[in-house]
Symmetry: C2
C-alpha cells in the first residue's frame, strides 16, 4: 500500500454489508450518514446509530430482525419521526440500528363491504385518510402531524387526536395487525373482524408498546361512512365549570354526532393575540379573565340543515342556561378552517415564539378537570410566582395539554432551578386525581423515569414480565417505555 | 371412641379450614356439596372440585389466591356460570378450587360527569344496566343471559351481544380493571380515563383471557346517554346478498344511530313455526326459500318522530332498490318486544325442542358472509345429505351462529359418526375466509383443541409465553384457552 498522510479509512462495517444484502445497497446506510433520523422532532434528543436500514417488505423486516437479534444489535423502529417523547430516537451509544419504514408504505387493500383498509406501517396518515375518502369512506384518526406521521407510529403510540371523543384512539380504529417478533417471525394478525375472542388479545398488547415488544409492519383499520355534514362552532364560556357543564349537555343532546370538544384557556388565547398579531381571532381577546374558549364539531349523518338546526337549538339552550357567553357557528368551510387552524397551528406558533415551556400531556376523569385546573393553578402560582399556565386540550376525552411558561422576563436559567419542581407538582396533582401523565403522546425516553415513579410496583412487574417474555434479549427499542 | 358400624368420616380437608379462615365458615364449602357450580349451563361438562370459595372483597380474593398458589392448587373463577364453552367448569380431577364471585358484587361508584360506573366482578349484568338507567345513563352491553351473567364473566370472555355494531364488545366498554395476579397481588388498574398511553395495555390482555392470566375483581365501565328514542323493524329480504346490501345501506344512511342488525335464515324461522306453534311470528312463514329475516334497531338521539321518519325513508329506499321484500316497523314497545323475544328466546326454544345440534359461533369479514353462506351450505349438503342448516347472527358484526341439525328422522347416533366432519368443514370454511372460530363465546374447554389447530405456531407461541410470564405455575383456570 502506498504511504499516505490521509487518516486511515475505517474498515467497512460487516453488519452494514449484511443489511445491504437483504434490502439492497441503497437502503442500508451507515449511521454517521443518517442525519435527521438520529434527532427527534423537538431536537431534544440526539442519538447515534450503527446504521439505518429501510426494508421494503415484511419479509425483509423479518430478515433484518433475525440478523440483528442474532448479532445482539438493538433495533429502533422509526416512522415519520414526529413523536414528542424521543421514542424513535436511538441512544447516544451508537450500537443500535434504526429500522426505517420509509419504504414499507403501501396500501395493500380496501374492502368496502367490510369497511376496512389494510396498510403498511410506513404509510403516511394523510395518505390513508385520502385513500379512504377516495373510496367514499372516513378514516377518522386526525392529528396535526398527519401529513408526515405514519400509521406505524400511530399504532406504536396509540395516537389520539381531536376525534377520539367519537371514534376512539388508534387502538379503537384497528381490527388487526401484522408484527415481526423478536424471533424474527411474522405474526399475521391482519384480521378484519369485529368480534374475535380466539385467544389472548395480542393486538392491543403490541399497539401502544412503542416498538418495545414487537415491530408492527401492517394493520387492518376500520373505515366509517363519510358524514353527510360537518359543522363547527367556536364558543366563549366563563369558567372551566361552565365548559364542563357544556360538555355534559353536548354529550347528551348531540349524542353520537358530537365529534370534537376542545378547550383553550384565556391565557393561551391571549398569548396568540400577543405573539401572533397577524392572526385574526374568532373573538377579540379581553383582559386577563377566567374565560375559556371551546371548539365544538359535529358530524351529522343526515344533512347540513339538520346539523345547523341541532347546533343552533342546543347552543341556544346552553346560552339560556348561562353555560355559554357567546357563540360563532362557522358559516362556511373557510370559517371552520380558521377555527381549526387556530387550534392546530395558532396555539403552537404562539408558544414557539414565546420560548420553551414545560409541556405536559395529561388525562383526567372528566369529573376532575375543573378542580385540577383550579387547584393545580393555585398551587403552581403559589410555589412558582409569575409562571404562566397555558392550557388547551381535548376536554371530551379528559386530555389536557398543560404547558407552563416561565415568568415574563425570567432568564432561561429559570428552568435549571425550577423545571423539576414544576413537573413534579403537575404530575403529582394528576396522579392524585386518578389521572395519567402519558395521555396520548406515549412514554418514549422522556417519561421513562416518571412512569417508573408513578406506576405501582405490581404494574411495573407485570410490564417487565411481558417485556422479558416477548423480547428476552431486550433489543427492541431499548430504554423506551421501561428503563433497560 | 365408641365402636360404631358407620363408615369412618373422612378427615376434614385442612385447605377448606384455611379457606374458611379467610372468608368465613359459611362461604367455603367442600366440592362434593357444590352442586351446580361443577356443571356448565349446557350440561356438557361435569367437573369435580376440592372446594368452592366465595370471597366478599378483593382483599379476600388476593388472600385466597396466595393460599392456593402456595399450595399448588388450581383455581377456576366462576361468575354466573352461563358460559357456553365450559370455561367456568373445573376438570374431573377434583384438585381445583372454584372461586365464586357470588358475594363480590357491589356497585362501587357512579361518576356522572365522567360517565363511568365502577362495579365488582360478581355484579349481574342486568343490575349494572339498571343502575345505569336509574342514573339516566345507558350501559349498552346486552345479552340474552343478562339476568344471570356477571360483569366478571363478560370481561373474561369479552362478551359481545346484540349492540356491538354500535357500541363495541365488553372490551370497548371498559376503561379500567382491577386484577388479582398469580402472585396474589392486586393490580389497581381501575382508571376512568379515555386516553392513557402510560405503558403496556394490561387491561385488554386480561380482558378476554377467561381467567387464565389473572382474576378480574372489578371494572370501571363506560356509560352513555340514554337514547331519546329506540325503534325496531322486522324485515323480509330475498337472498343473503340482499341482506348484506341492506346492511351497507343502513350503515351509510343511519350512520351512528344504527345499533342492531340481526339476521335469521328461512330454515331457522320455519323451525320456530314448526316447533313453537304457539308463538306468533311477524310474517307468516312461507315454503322453503332463499328468504332471510332482518331485525334492525336504531337508537335516535333526537326524538321518536325523527327515528320513525328516518326508518320509513331509508327502508322505503331499500324497498325501491329491491333489497327489502317487506317491512314491519314496530308500532309500540310491545311489538318491538315481540320481535326481540323471537330473536332472543324463540330461536333457542325451537332448537331446544328440535334436539341437539352442532353449534358454531363464527365471525367473518362482512364481505365474506354471503359466499360463506352459499358455499358452505352447498358443501355441507353435499357431504352430509339432509342436514338442516340453521343460521342467525349479528350480521352487522360479521358474527354468525351457524347451527347444524341432523337430518329429519336421523337417530342420535348420527352425531357419533358425523359431528367431527361437520365441525371440521365449517371451521375450515371459516378460517379459509379470514374468519374466527371463536367470535363472542370464547374458547373455554370446548375449543381448546380447535384453537390449537387453527392458530399459527407463531401466535400460539406468543400466547404460551404470555401465559408462562403471568401464571408461571399454570394454576389459573388450567385447560381453558390453551391446553395445559
Amino acid at each position: 500500500m502506498p504511504i499516505s498522510s490521509a487518516r486511515p479509512r475505517p474498515a467497512p462495517d460487516p453488519l452494514l454489508a449484511a443489511l445491504q444484502a437483504i434490502v439492497g445497497e441503497a437502503h442500508a446506510i451507515p449511521g454517521d450518514a443518517a442525519g435527521d433520523a438520529l434527532v427527534d422532532q423537538l431536537r431534544r434528543y440526539v442519538g447515534q446509530a450503527r446504521a439505518v436500514v429501510r426494508p421494503a417488505t415484511t419479509a425483509e423486516v423479518a430478515e433484518v430482525v433475525r440478523l440483528l437479534v442474532a448479532e445482539g444489535v438493538p433495533i429502533v423502529p422509526q416512522g415519520g419521526n414526529t413523536g414528542l417523547m424521543g421514542g424513535a430516537t436511538p441512544d447516544a451509544e451508537g450500537a443500535a440500528v434504526v429500522l426505517s419504514f420509509a419504504r414499507l408504505n403501501r396500501i395493500r387493500a380496501i374492502d368496502l363491504d367490510n369497511d376496512t383498509i389494510t396498510v403498511e406501517a410506513g404509510a403516511i396518515l394523510s395518505v390513508v385518510q385520502d385513500a379512504a375518502r377516495d373510496a367514499n369512506r372516513l378514516f377518522p384518526l386526525s392529528l396535526p402531524s398527519q401529513g408526515s406521521c405514519t400509521i406505524g407510529g400511530n399504532l406504536a403510540t396509540n395516537a389520539g387526536g381531536t376525534q377520539v371523543l367519537r371514534f376512539g384512539n388508534t387502538r379503537a380504529l384497528t381490527l388487526g395487525i401484522e408484527v415481526v417478533t423478536a424471533e424474527g417471525e411474522v405474526w399475521d394478525g391482519l384480521r378484519g373482524l369485529r368480534k374475535d375472542n380466539a385467544g389472548y388479545d395480542l393486538r392491543d398488547l403490541f399497539i401502544g408498546a412503542e416498538g418495545t415488544l414487537g415491530i408492527i409492519t401492517a394493520a387492518t383499520l376500520r373505515l366509517l361512512p363519510l358524514p353527510a355534514a360537518q359543522v363547527t362552532a367556536f364558543l366563549e364560556v366563563e369558567g372551566i365549570e361552565s365548559a364542563i357543564a357544556l360538555l355534559r349537555r353536548a354529550r347528551k343532546d348531540f349524542g353520537a354526532s358530537l365529534t370534537t370538544f376542545e378547550i383553550i384557556s384565556d391565557a393561551t388565547y391571549r398569548l396568540v393575540a400577543a405573539r401572533v398579531p397577524e392572526r385574526r381571532l374568532p373573538f377579540p381577546p379581553g383582559a386577563a379573565s377566567d374565560r375559556w374558549y371551546v371548539l365544538i364539531e359535529i358530524f351529522d349523518d343526515e344533512s347540513e340543515e339538520h346539523a345547523r338546526a341541532a347546533l343552533e337549538r342546543i347552543l341556544g339552550d346552553a346560552i339560556a342556561a348561562g353555560e355559554v357567553a357567546d357563540a360563532l357557528i362557522a358559516a362556511s368551510i373557510a370559517q371552520s378552517r380558521t377555527f381549526w387552524d387556530l387550534r392546530e397551528h395558532g396555539l403552537g406558533e404562539a408558544q414557539k415564539r414565546d420560548g420553551w415551556n414545560a409541556k405536559h400531556d395529561l388525562s383526567l376523569p372528566i369529573s376532575r378537570i375543573a378542580d385540577f385546573i383550579r387547584e393545580t393553578g393555585d398551587a403552581l402560582r403559589a410555589a412558582f410566582p409569575g409562571v404562566r399556565i397555558l392550557v388547551h386540550g381535548h376536554a371530551g376525552d379528559g386530555n389536557l395539554h398543560y404547558h407552563i411558561a416561565k415568568p415574563e422576563g425570567a432568564p432561561e436559567s429559570y428552568w435549571a432551578t425550577h423545571e423539576t419542581g414544576i413537573r413534579t407538582l403537575v404530575h403529582d396533582a394528576t396522579v392524585a386525581r386518578g389521572g395519567s401523565i402519558c395521555a396520548e403522546h406515549g412514554v418514549g425516553q422522556l417519561k421513562v423515569h416518571a412512569l417508573a415513579h408513578y406506576k405501582t410496583p405490581v404494574e411495573l412487574a407485570l410490564m417487565r414480565r411481558i417485556k422479558a417474555a416477548l423480547d428476552p434479549q431486550g433489543l427492541f427499542n431499548p430504554g423506551k417505555v421501561l428503563s433497560s
